[in-house]
Amino acid sequence: MPAFNIILTGEGGQGVVTAGTILSQTVMDSGYNVIMSELHGLSQRGGSITVEVRIGEIYGPISFKSKYNLLLGFEPIEAMRILEQISYPMDAVVNSEKISPIYLGIRDLEYPDVDAMLSNLPQCIRLRRIDASRIARDAGSVKATNIVMLGTALEASVPGLTLEGLENAIRSRFSGKLLQLNLDALHLAMGKMERELPG
């Protein structure tokens, strides 16, 4: 089996690392080898953050740049930062909710027209948009945005990723109110995908 490479990106504080860990745990529990990269340290809330999850008979946590299969973009600018470098076939799911970098305010700049950039991507990138933050709020809190994004990965033929597996990984990680919130968010994402992600 060739390696399956997933890149998750967003703003520090959006739960990108947690999402990557839950995704990896699910895949590992299905019997696959999985390696994840994460960076700590100067990633306070607010900076760009990128996590890679690699599945298959691979050794290192970093993929060849031309070999990503799936992007989960938690924030449009951060998703575009990866996508603008890519010109080969892959799946990409991008959350619609924008978070302005403070750089824009300081320089008196507008949030760039990422929507236009996303609609001009090369044909080979199969792009799907989802209002993940709103779905998370409907489930109870914007904090569950990462789980909604994980729910979207279920449509991308990730080896070893199943709804039941995700539920189990979420159950083993959270308890009480947070567990319910995250399960609700996951199920709400499932319902929404059929409507908002028609291929």
Binding site: E38, L39, G41, G60, S100
Partner: protein
């Protein structure tokens, strides 16, 4: 079961957990029956400490976040020579601080196993330099082990204790960011329950007092030990050959580079054998020599400096071998940046002649999103107040900054960092600036960094009557590395908090103020007053880290959120352009506050930030 209980559980023997390299090292410490653990937090080593701190009591480990790396090494060394296994870990630059005792511990040697772990940071994700600490092994004549992944990080650590005890020598355990922060399945081993945590030091002054008369003899013994370890280095299964090729080309590699090499060799189905070195000092020269003899060409692939390559070239020269050797000395590989499959493939394709199309980065048109001070961060309020005070007083100070979250004061709009070199250097450099110019210096230093190495330069400054304002940003924790406690923290009943103001007064400094940065008026007044003073002023800007405060507030179920009253807002843009909180943004030509990000500190609502008083409490949410 939580991760911590899974890590502690001996019944999990053989089970696989999905662990961060640093968590695997923590488990390795348990499996190796380590009883004393010391550290100063530093990325990329911090999570070893976070994990062991959380489980040390249950595991029967004596754990300390030491005041700095030097004290951490000295504490661990004393434990070892008293008969207790110890682990001390730090980031790469931390070993510079600890290098003084580190080098001499090799001379005296150890008793119970002692491992000194250094976490290097190729590509400098969170460091001020990219130094290659493998040189320290050579410099100190201390054996060095380099794992490539979390499984090896755990297993090799256990072996490091065997080597340390067999030769009575400390072992340097070197990870890098992509090993420390790589998550992968790890098969657990057995936790040996019997471990010694209390012991008496048996005196042997001829060995442990490093006077020249003793040390010369010890140095000779040390060189003998290293030569013995080199002879026996094959017996530890730390070095191995992956025979994939037909014998033409060999690759010698170690650590994180091994992973990239394997991914490249597999992706391009390359015809190459691989010698993976795990015990890299002393370099296994017999093994290298045999590997060289078997191949027409050997490529050495390693991040940062040509440490292995030098050893390979030396081995070749000593044995009179004709093998072609490629690496970074002849220009194929870079001396900087971490290696990725792409960078390795690009260099290797030039040597081996396989087709590789280099990735050409497209110039981004997107705004950058560098790390920022969190919403509610007390440092933002301090930087804002200093900037206002300096403008009011019409002074043009040199800003001498330091290592911590507040080094982000470098970025717009604050730009309050002109220098930043090393831990404690804010005050150290202020000594020099004050010595050679009459210009005002403002030094910014955090509480943890002040305890670590800010006290000595402040003594120097007072002793020589220098002129500076020292802003001590006291947020009660070592924040940047993940909110670890420091000597000022009152974490439990077993520690005695050390008060910064008592240290400062104890030196003899009298112009000292303690302010709450959330109170902009009081903070501004203290700064303007200090800027009028000729001599040393110290302002302790004290307010707990916003992340800590959030955790408490969320527990209590209360967090105030602010909003902009659009009827009052004069659109002066001061809050957006000069205060620059990530929660404040512009949309449809209006200033808004993102309620998901607002931390409720309320500093933006004060008249010094919002002259229109347009920022108001919206509601209390969780």
């Amino acid at each position: 079961m939580t991760l911590l209980s899974l890590l502690l559980d001996n019944e999990e023997n053989g089970k696989k957990l999905f662990l961060l390299g640093n968590e695997a090292i923590a488990r390795g410490a348990l499996e190796a029956s380590v009883s004393v653990v010391t550290t100063y937090p530093g990325t990329p080593s911090s999570e070893i400490g976070d994990t062991l701190y959380d489980l040390h009591k249950e595991a029967g480990i004596k754990f300390q976040f030491s005041v700095n790396e030097k004290v951490a090494v000295e504490t661990a060394f004393a434990a070892s020579i008293s008969g207790v296994r110890s682990l001390v870990f730090m980031k790469h630059v931390g070993l510079n601080v600890a290098s003084d005792p580190f080098v001499t511990t090799a001379y005296t040697g150890t008793r119970a196993g002692m491992v000194v772990l250094t976490a290097d940071d190729p590509s400098m994700y969170s460091s001020q330099n990219e130094q290659d600490n493998r040189h320290y092994a050579e410099l100190a004549h201390i054996p060095m082990i380099e794992p490539s992944n979390p499984q090896e990080a755990k297993d090799f650590l256990v072996k490091a204790y065997e080597i340390s005890e067999k030769y009575n020598i400390p072992v340097l355990f070197r990870t890098t960011t992509r090993v420390a922060h790589m998550r992968a399945p790890v098969a657990l081993g057995k936790i040996e329950k019997e471990h010694v945590s209390v012991a008496q030091f048996v005196k042997d002054p001829e060995r442990f007092v490093s006077l020249p008369s003793n040390a010369l003899r010890l140095k000779e013994k040390l060189i003998e030990k290293i030569s013995e370890i080199e002879k026996e280095s094959d017996s530890y299964d730390l070095n191995r050959i992956e025979r994939i090729g037909s014998g033409g080309i060999g690759i010698i590699t170690s650590g994180a580079s091994f992973n990239s090499v394997m991914d490249v060799v597999n992706e391009y189905a390359l015809d190459a054998d691989i010698l993976k070195i795990g015990l890299s000092y002393p370099a296994p020269r017999d093994m290298i020599s045999a590997f060289l003899s078997e191949h027409e060409r050997v490529v050495v692939i390693e991040e940062l400096d040509p440490y292995l390559e030098n050893n390979v070239r030396i081995t070749s020269q000593i044995n009179g071998l004709k093998t072609i050797i490629n690496g970074k000395i002849d220009g194929y590989f870079s001396y900087s940046h971490e290696f990725t499959p792409d960078t390795v493939a690009q260099s290797l394709s030039k040597i081996m002649g396989f087709p590789y199309t280099p990735i050409v980065a497209v110039k981004s048109v997107l705004p950058p999103r560098p790390p920022v001070l969190c919403p509610g961060c007390p440092h933002r309020a301090t930087y804002y107040a200093v900037e206002r005070a300096v403008k009011m007083m019409k002074v043009d100070p040199v800003y001498s900054s330091d290592i911590g979250c507040y080094s982000l004061g470098f970025y717009e709009p604050y730009r309050e960092a002109d220098t930043m070199i090393s831990m404690g250097s804010s005050i150290g450099l202020a000594n020099g600036f004050s010595l050679v110019s009459g210009r005002k210096v403002i030094a910014f230093i955090g509480d943890s960094t002040f305890y670590h190495s800010g006290i000595e330069p402040l003594i120097n400054a007072y002793h020589y009557g220098l002129n500076m304002l020292v802003m001590i940003l006291d947020n009660d924790v070592t924040a940047m590395t993940g909110q670890q406690p420091n000597p000022g923290s009152d974490t439990d009943t077993e520690v005695a908090p050390v008060k910064i103001e008592e240290i400062v007064r104890g030196i003899g400094i009298s112009d000292i103020a303690i302010v709450d940065p959330y109170d902009t008026a009081v903070t501004l007044k203290a700064i303007t007053s200090a800027l009028r003073n000729d001599g040393i002023s110290v302002i302790i800007s004290r307010r707990e880290c916003a992340i800590l405060r959030d955790r408490k507030m969320q527990k209590n179920g209360k967090l105030q959120v602010y909003t902009v009253n659009q009827d009052k807002c004069g659109l002066c843009m001061n809050c957006v352009e000069n205060f620059a909180c990530p929660a404040i943004y512009i949309e449809d030509k209006r200033i808004k506050i993102n309620p998901d990000l607002c931390d409720g500190c309320g500093v933006c609502s004060q008249v010094y930030v919002c002259p229109y008083r347009a920022i108001e409490v919206e509601h209390a949410s969780i």
